[in-house]
């Protein structure tokens, strides 16, 4: 009889070692892991500027045509598999009007630093639920990113 009660006690001890989910207070509605930057604080995120190294992008009053055609070339290799120039969604949203909706800093940061921004930007998270494909990091350098921005402006009718 004594032995039996000892067994029961030991068994209970083992059981109590596992912490149940309800007690731990974890929030299971958020993804468990993301590829990068989960550690950085989402509350400091600036939805106008985005996150990345670009803070002040000077745009010319008129279009830089040469820069825009370079941008078109780079976009042809790295972007247009998934984006149309209209407002129609392909894999990702169409580019029409993007330079009117978004600040140039935000665009430059997003196309050079997509992963952390997808994790934090409320609009990008909403977009991800629609598209279901995270925009890939296409390893654009700063010059290429700026050229693409100029091409987007051209696409939006800047002369």
């Amino acid at each position: 009889m004594n032995k039996l009660s000892l067994l029961v006690v030991v068994f209970v001890l083992f059981l109590s070692c596992g912490k149940s989910k309800s007690e731990s207070g974890e929030d299971f509605s958020a993804p468990a892991a993301s590829e990068e930057s989960a550690a950085t604080d989402a509350s400091s995120y600036d939805p106008n500027r985005g996150e990345g190294k670009h803070s002040n992008i000077e745009l010319g009053a008129a279009l830089d045509g040469a820069m825009a055609s370079k941008g078109e070339e780079v976009a042809g290799v790295k972007c247009t598999s998934c984006h149309k120039m209209t407002d129609e969604r392909l894999v990702g949203p169409g580019w029409k009007g993007v330079t009117e909706r978004k600040k140039p800093e935000w665009i430059m940061n997003f196309i050079t630093n997509p992963d952390p921004m997808i994790d934090k930007d409320p609009e990008l998270q909403a977009q991800l639920e629609l598209c279901l494909v995270r925009m890939p990091n296409q390893s654009l350098n700063d010059t290429e990113a700026r050229e693409i921005l100029e091409f987007m402006r051209k696409n939006d009718g800047v002369k």
Partner: protein, 660 residues
């Protein structure tokens, strides 16, 4: 009732005690208590060392982390690899080309990391093919086979690919003597002594690019060269090779090549050989061997057949080679970190002889010879001997060093690893291994600078070490901590193929060597690259059809293709447009007589396919790439031979026809 209970308990205890006492001692008894903690690498943390392990009869090289024993990658080298398309894609086929055409398999035995000043430098790792003699160079920035060089006049390329201390040369000694390719090989086998020769290849390595060039070969009597290591420090300029079958037997070697009490360690003065070459003493002989190189910008291998080799007759030219008698059928040939001591492991001997470089030089100087062997001077055993390790165990095979004056030797027959002091030759510690160890490896353990923390012993027999898997069992590696006086067994881990030699390097040395994460699409110079979907097309050239295709998360362009006919030869030139780390895509098409293509970001790869049946053939991405991976697919229409369906291709426009 109570009595019966007591009796039963007593019986159970007795039976238990019987089993415990009769059970052979095994690893679970001898592993140290906190071993689990010492090999545990927490999720998200990295191992301390990269461990490069030869794949034996798999023909490949596997890479593990130490101390966890977790496998990180298998790099295809000498065998086809359906997983990556190595040897199946049009671009990789030339890498497996030889003077006798495409060869899909080999037996990969030994590995050697490149060195600068005798220390591991993390640039390349060299690998040998034992069966069809070849040496490969794997580039550790890309973790990809960059080059494969075939060796003429060789058979059983076992004594390789060992390097000099600044990677000036990779050497390759032949295990089987055979008539040279430049001689008439149509001779009776029992004319071995007269007609069979052994050749040792010295392969020059370009300092910057790493590219290999067969600089010269030494022509020697037809002994079997088993293993080798370069001199280092004071003995830099010399190379040491174990030889067995000094009997020159050509049948039942098990008996007939085990007659002599002593075979040899051959010392080669390669600087002297270089002088003879400068003086024009070499002879250019006819040969045929393939030199295969990989180009990172065209993503394509190229195979060139070379037709000449420079041969030096080491018997006719004096002062290049000397023989040191070594008991008995020596296997391992290992040089300690100072370059002074040369350890020959006579696998049939009950001792380990250790030779002294200083004594060897003095003996050569004094012409302290006991005679000659097939025209090569043989030094007196006692004049060159530092001493013998007495009763180390049975069947000594290989030795590595910890940089603290100790040597560690594997004993195949008595199944143990033995630690001994190089200077005093005293055995300091011994530990059983499970079972029958071949090679062992200490990170940097054959260089000037060993990182003497861990030692891995590679066992040939696994028996009961793991859950049984039928007649064929895995091989087994065992990890020891050698930082203290006593060796401590920490971990068993299974390995692929049959590992022979292995090399290890500190993790930071490799991971900070400028490793590539992607191939830059701007630098892609593949002749059939598509840089963006605008470049994609399908082009018919007679019965050949070239499909220029791109892939990105998660679609192919084009994904609807028509106008292909039975009997056509179709080449899919597929470019991965991704420029992000860890996003390969795969390409496979139904009933293709090949493997998939696994294409890295920025790379172009080509699959050859010959349709034999009319119908609709789907193709799809094999590497899960996004939430819409299952949608990454396409259709190809195959029409009968002679059909007039025109070539057409599209993406997103060829929408389903209305059902009315």
């Amino acid at each position: 009732m109570k009595n019966r209970f007591l009796k039963a308990t007593f019986a159970i205890v007795l039976i238990g005690a019987y089993f415990v006492s009769c059970k052979p001692k095994n690893t679970s008894d001898v592993a140290v208590g906190d071993a689990a903690q010492r090999v545990y690498v927490a999720p998200g943390k990295y191992d301390e060392f990269y461990n490069f392990v030869s794949g034996g009869f798999s023909g490949q090289m596997s890479i593990y982390g130490l101390p966890s024993g977790r496998m990180l990658k298998v790099i295809p080298i000498f065998s086809q690899d359906p997983e990556s398309g190595w040897g199946y894609s049009e671009e990789t086929k030339p890498m497996l080309n030889t003077s006798e055409g495409y060869i899909p398999w080999d037996d990969q035995h030994h590995l050697e990391l490149s060195q600068t000043n005798g220390e591991v430098d993390g640039r390349w790792i060299f690998a040998n093919a034992n069966n069809t003699p070849r040496i490969a160079r794997v580039d550790l920035k890309r973790f990809k086979t960059a080059e494969i060089l075939e060796l003429p006049n060789s058979a059983g390329n076992h004594s390789s690919p060992f390097i000099t201390e600044n990677t000036e040369y990779v050497v390759a000694g032949t295990r089987f003597g055979v008539p040279g390719d430049y001689e008439d090989g149509d001779v009776p086998i029992n004319t071995y002594k007269k007609n069979f020769k052994a050749h040792i290849s010295f392969i020059k390595v370009d300092k910057e690019s790493g590219e290999m060039d067969l600089s010269f070969q030494l022509r020697l009597p037809g002994v079997n060269f088993d293993l080798s290591h370069a001199g280092k420090g004071k003995s830099h300029g010399w190379f040491f090779f174990t030889c067995y079958n000094s009997e020159l037997a050509n049948t039942l070697l098990e008996v007939n090549a085990s007659q002599n009490d002593k075979d040899f360690i051959m010392a080669v003065n390669w600087k002297k050989a270089e002088e003879y070459i400068k003086a024009g003493k070499g002879k250019i002989e006819k040969a045929r061997y393939a030199h295969n190189t990989w180009d990172d910008e065209t993503h394509t291998g190229k195979s060139v057949i070379k037709e000449e080799v420079l041969v030096l007759d080491a018997t006719a030219l004096k002062d290049i080679v000397y023989l040191m008698p070594c008991p008995k059928s020596p296997h391992g040939c290992d040089v300690d970190p100072t370059g002074e001591y040369i350890v020959g492991s006579g696998k049939l001997a009950a001792l380990i002889p250790v030779f002294s470089y200083t004594k060897m030089l003095a003996a050569i100087d004094k012409k302290d010879f006991e005679g000659d062997y097939e025209g090569i001077p043989v030094l007196k055993y006692n004049s060159v001997l530092h001493g013998e390790v007495q009763k180390p165990g049975l069947g000594p095979l290989h030795t590595e060093f910890d940089g603290k004056g100790n040597a560690y030797s594997t004993m195949f027959v008595s199944s143990e690893v033995v630690k001994w002091d190089i200077k005093t030759l005293k055995v300091l510690d011994r530990h059983p291994t499970y079972y029958s160890p071949g090679h062992l490896s200490i990170p940097g353990g054959d260089s000037k600078k060993p990182f003497g923390k861990y030692m891995v012993v590679y066992n040939k027999i696994t028996k009961d070490r793991y859950l049984p898997t039928g007649p064929e069992l895995t091989q087994s590696a065992q990890l020891f901590d050698i930082s203290g006086d006593k060796m401590q067994l920490l971990l068993d881990y299974p390995t692929i193929g049959e590992p022979h030699y292995a090399q290890s390097a500190p993790a930071d040395l490799i991971r900070n060597n400028g490793q590539l994460k992607i191939y830059d699409i701007k630098k892609n110079n593949h002749p059939r690259v598509s840089k963006g979907e605008k470049d994609t097309k399908v082009v018919r050239e007679g019965n050949k059809v070239h499909v220029y295709m791109t892939m990105i998360r998660s679609h192919f362009a084009p994904d609807n293709i028509e106008g292909i006919k039975v009997g056509d030869e179709v080449y899919f030139h597929v470019t991965n447009l991704e420029q992000d780390w860890d996003v390969p895509h795969g390409f496979s098409i139904r009933r293709a007589n090949a493997a998939e293509l696994l294409i890295m970001p920025g790379e172009t790869s080509t699959l050859y396919w010959k349709p034999t049946k009319v119908g609709i053939v789907p193709f799809y991405c094999t590497d899960f790439c996004s939430a819409l991976h299952q949608e990454m697919s396409g259709y190809l229409r195959v029409s009968p031979a002679g059909s007039n369906v025109p070539i057409s291709y599209s993406l997103g426009t060829n929408l389903p026809a209305s059902s009315k």
